[in-house]
């Protein structure tokens, strides 16, 4: 890859996360700081088998 054109960040592959995902141990979306909106991007995955 020509780095002068494109820098690709390391990210979790969302398609691949379907394989061992869905354990449900992560925090409930609203149960944190806001209580008035919903975001899930700031939550940690707590799946020990991913």
């Amino acid at each position: 890859m020509e780095m002068k054109h494109i820098v690709t960040l390391e990210t979790r592959d969302l398609c691949a996360s379907a394989k061992n995902g869905g354990c449900g141990e992560c925090q409930t979306s609203c149960q944190s700081a806001c209580k008035t909106s919903c975001g899930i991007a700031n939550q940690q995955c707590e799946n020990g088998n991913r």
Partner: protein, 456 residues
């Protein structure tokens, strides 16, 4: 699906379905926009019109790089997630893992903008008895299935007005942990008025997270957050918050503010929080009816958007100076964030998450408490209003027509059901102003991740 945008000097390409993020130059940015739906020759011709000085070899190089990314599943990845949208909830049907315990439907402040109508939730003042609280914890344990991590938020009103019961409930939960192998994580949300050494000691030992309500500048805070005599609370609570946070080691708390039509320039309030020594910050747009004078208006939105951008730049600058701080909505973990099931399943209100009133009644979440039509049941008999629960169980990002083609759908999971209901009259609707703010926050958060990598 691609979302591409320019922010803070960066050209950013987000491949929505793979979750990939690319920082690109101008030529690549334009080629991404012209790539799909064209063959190679016509795509290159279209890009050449915009970049007449570009060499053929360079255009070929960029085109091939995009092809490689596409082949690797990092660009133009198809959306194959719709069938997964209901699966997590089906798999965990009946499982409850989080409760918001309304231990006090009363408050020692009289904040005009309170969505809970001064803690009473449009009802009678009341505090939760120890028996009701214990039963709520038992209900959570009984309904938690194989979930190990259980979350309980002590909420109100003002939970410190029922502090003795809070402490007893924590002790009770610790006993239940030993018997069951479950792990409780507690959060305390407080206005700070009743914080003393006992609260600091106990909360810092037992509460996984503490949410402290402070709106920032003294004049902004004291405009709304007043006692029943009309006196502002800023001067009384700030020293208590500083003491609690210091004793906590500066971690696992949020200084949480609300901004309204009166302070869309909320960055000044964040700067005040920083000046006071706080570094774990959250600032939320007010929840108010559109005709309420404190509600954000269309004219406020450009101001708020600019504040979000300035906030991101301030955070990056302070990181470089070795003085970082956290903003709740800019926390985004691109490598360790949630799996796709979580991202498409909705917020969990009414299914895995419920609110419990002082009388033991169950509601889909704290924001629905007091809306009788949404009462789900109680902690003794469980959920008896199957129709309402089904409405929430069916609520996911693919069930909302407005979300299907939104680039941010895998970051918000369909948004807040209560906001949707207030704005659109249905939990399957959307709150468009909230969506616009959310998307801006995600753009800023992703830009910050790009900046850290590119600058590194």
């Amino acid at each position: 699906m691609i979302h591409q945008y320019k922010l803070n000097g960066y050209n950013i390409v987000l491949d929505v379905c793979s979750g990939s993020v690319h920082a690109v130059d101008e030529l690549t940015y334009d080629m991404v926009a012209l790539f799909e739906g064209r063959d190679r020759a016509s795509a290159l011709a279209a890009v050449r019109e915009k970049h007449p000085g570009a060499a053929d070899a360079e255009l070929d190089e960029v085109y091939d790089a995009l092809l490689s990314l596409k082949d690797a599943g990092k660009l133009f990845a198809p959306d194959t997630f719709a069938p997964m949208a209901g699966r997590l909830k089906e798999k965990s049907a009946g499982v409850v893992k989080a409760l918001c315990l309304h231990v006090a439907h009363t408050c020692n402040l009289n904040c005009a903008y309170c969505f809970a109508s001064q803690g009473r939730y449009r009802g009678e003042r009341a505090v939760m008895s120890l028996d009701v609280g214990k039963r709520a914890l038992d209900f959570l344990v009984e309904r938690s299935g194989t979930r190990r991590n259980l979350e309980v938020d002590f909420f109100g009103g003002e939970p410190l007005m029922n502090w003795a019961v809070v402490k007893e409930l924590v002790r009770y939960a610790r006993e239940r942990e030993k018997e069951t192998g479950k792990r409780f994580r507690f959060t305390l949300t407080t206005n700070g008025m009743l914080i003393d050494d006992d609260v600091i000691d106990f909360a810092n030992r037992e509460m996984h997270n503490v949410v402290l309500s402070l709106d920032g500048r003294r004049e902004v805070h004291d405009r709304w957050r007043v006692d029943y005599a009309g006196n502002g609370s800023w001067e009384r609570i700030v020293p208590k918050f500083q003491k609690l946070v210091a004793a906590r080691g500066g971690r696992n708390y949020y200084m949480r503010g609300t901004f309204t039509h009166n302070n869309p320039d909320f960055l000044k309030d964040i700067e005040t929080m920083l000046d006071l020594g706080f570094t774990e910050l959250s600032m939320e747009p007010v929840v108010a009816a559109p005709d309420d004078p404190i509600a954000l208006t269309a004219d406020d939105l450009p101001v708020v958007m600019a504040q979000y951008e300035a906030l991101a730049k301030l955070m990056l600058a302070r990181e470089k100076e070795g003085r970082p701080f956290t903003f709740y909505h800019y926390m985004i973990d691109l490598t360790g964030g949630p799996c796709i099931y979580k991202r498409v399943s909705g917020c969990g209100s009414g299914t895995e998450y419920m609110a419990v009133t002082p009388w033991g009644d169950l509601y889909p979440c704290h924001q629905f408490v007091g809306e009788e039509a949404f009462k789900l049941g109680d902690v003794w008999n469980g959920v008896t209003n199957a129709a309402v629960q089904e409405e929430f169980a069916a609520c996911n990002v693919y069930a909302k027509p407005a979300c299907r083609d939104c680039w941010a759908r895998l970051y918000c999971s369909g948004g807040c059901a209560a906001n949707a209901w207030h704005a659109a009259g249905s939990v399957a609707g959307v709150y468009e102003t909230g969506c616009a703010l959310f998307k801006k926050r995600m753009e800023c958060a992703i830009m910050m991740a790009v900046a850290r990598q590119v600058e590194a």
